[in-house]
Symmetry: C2
Subunit: 417 residues, 2 copies
Amino acid sequence: MSDPLLAHVNDLCSRARPAATLAARLDDAQKTAALLAAADAITAAAETIQAANALDLAQAAHDGLAPAMVDRLRLDGKRLDAVVADLHAVARLPDPCGRIIEERTIAQGIQAQKIAVPIGVVAIIFESRPNVTVDAASLCLRAGNACILRGGKEAVHTNRALAAAFRQGLTAAGVDADVVQLVQQQDRALVPLLLAREDAVDIVIPRGGETLIRAVVECSRVPVIKHDKGVCSLYVHADADQDMALRLVDNAKRQRPGVCNAIENLLVHRDAAATFLPRLRAALPDVELRADATALPLIAGAVPATPADWESEYLALILAVRVVASLDEAIALTNRHGSHHSDSIICRDQVAAERYLREVDSACVYHNASTRFTDGAQFGFGAEVGISTNRLHARGPMGLAELCTYKWVCRGHGQAR
Amino acid sequence: MSDPLLAHVNDLCSRARPAATLAARLDDAQKTAALLAAADAITAAAETIQAANALDLAQAAHDGLAPAMVDRLRLDGKRLDAVVADLHAVARLPDPCGRIIEERTIAQGIQAQKIAVPIGVVAIIFESRPNVTVDAASLCLRAGNACILRGGKEAVHTNRALAAAFRQGLTAAGVDADVVQLVQQQDRALVPLLLAREDAVDIVIPRGGETLIRAVVECSRVPVIKHDKGVCSLYVHADADQDMALRLVDNAKRQRPGVCNAIENLLVHRDAAATFLPRLRAALPDVELRADATALPLIAGAVPATPADWESEYLALILAVRVVASLDEAIALTNRHGSHHSDSIICRDQVAAERYLREVDSACVYHNASTRFTDGAQFGFGAEVGISTNRLHARGPMGLAELCTYKWVCRGHGQAR
């Protein structure tokens, strides 16, 4: 029964490695030309792509998908223009390959260089937003990788049309179309078969909700770069500039509550609580505040927090608030309950700030800044693959550099041990 | 039935994370003191350790272990002195933590530093050599990590005695002994239970034979840094200095044939074959040469190679020899049949050398040097955890720097998005 799936996986894998070898040899100009050709091909195929998108939208309406989901699926003229513009932007980004990361003279005077090189074959498993197809393909190619893309079933026609156009562009530019492959069978049973192939796939990046990420982690023998949830916090120290603290809480919670670098927890030193918490209530009138027993009487209209609140990713205008006795307690609670994503201390005391920055074990730790800066664009990476919640290889914002690995190139003149 | 195993895993894991938090906060001087205290404690416990080793040796004799295996188990006075000397050497190594890997000014002038920090909890699964217990523990601690060690059953008494002494040293230095934990139950069923705990273990390093490595890769949900086999090759280009080539083949094959960075394959350009191969036979009289059809008549006493020879790790005085028509063929064969570990080209032509260095997809690629330099000590890393055959995080020689990950430390003055 699973034979057609296995045959498809074998076909994808047998094409991916040779394509990766070719992709790794493309120079900067060739990759730029290929990306521009893909942009042209997508522009030329706009009608086909939008007809395919109409099929997906009709199916979504038939299936009664929620309006927000339907909106994410939609690829109208304006959004397709944005996809093409993004492709042009990626084409202009500097080539991350070939960068000398480190140089050292090793034994007997051999000159060793640690050089950034493509990872190889990158699998990306994603959900309904069809622009991810082009985005993922272009970033992988910019970094000299081949990719195997597996999109959600809601966008199947749109994804196929986009991938077909992208591949036509590659062919037009003289690049092997198999540098970008789209999984053609939506059966979920295919994913574990693909991710068992550690010989053929070098890394998998799941992009989507927690269920998708869990499913990938559980079945994969290939290294996974997770883009998991963010339970981020902000800590207002005893000596904090409270005006600044209010501005940053407002920004970190309210500027865009539905993203992983928004805060879900606020810790306030007990010496600041009596003045700060009443102001918080006034500053964030539309945010539901869930408070511990000490904070509760200081916040009009707050509701009591439950233990689950300290570890919840609300992605909504809800904030859990807790009074702490010390910097130590703030650090310990952040490490224990947070997701090690992004956390910030607001304080004047440099010693306290440095202890927090050192001891909070998160991908990004901030002093007197919003956690919302954890983002590839804000970091100046030019492009963002996502925000890794892994501890290894890529931690925090993931750009083109993190779609590369390295090798050691060693030049000698006859040295033997 | 597996309850005692699960209870032991739970106990190890519940101790490891707090210990890792403490280990990460130790400064350079504290870690140095702890390592020296461990060395002292091992010296003080020498009699106990050797009595334990005698038990293991007696059991090995009773079980009829091969003499080479018994020798690997033995920890006599001289070897114990070496263990202590190694501990002193690790104590003197510079602290890899806190290094600024990169600095950048991100959005709105926030100062971001990418800082080397400990990985966290490192599991190391290894085989019979008991000195690995101390070696692994000391390297993990030097990099600020907690470790969970699981040694082979042959060395169980020795490992327990060494770990107990190490932990006494930690306690004497005021460091939580749980920074170094030894798995106390040898049941193999424990390993999958431990490596399912991605919440508690951040990385696993299997050190040992292929069977051990496969078993770990297949059961682990924790990222694995493999130290897998080396099928390395050397390519003698048409214009190679043949004297140099002979010296380097000799070194790469014969200096220490049982290691992963020794070569198993020799590729020779057809224009060099007629002069080079007869000289090879004379230069390596004790090496069994397995030759392809073109090389066979040029090498007195060679035996015909089979397809399996191109992918075999002999770890012995055997070399597979093949004549190639071009640099392209040499690169393609190396990428197809090798294990992407260490490969070398011998040639005068700089253009050919650069193409080889760029296109051979291995952790270490050499021009006019022996593959035997792929080694932490030769690279000047001070200490070697091993030679990683992973593509990500650590590729090639793995030192203390690769026992660290990084985090982003961002300093602002009130920036909000």
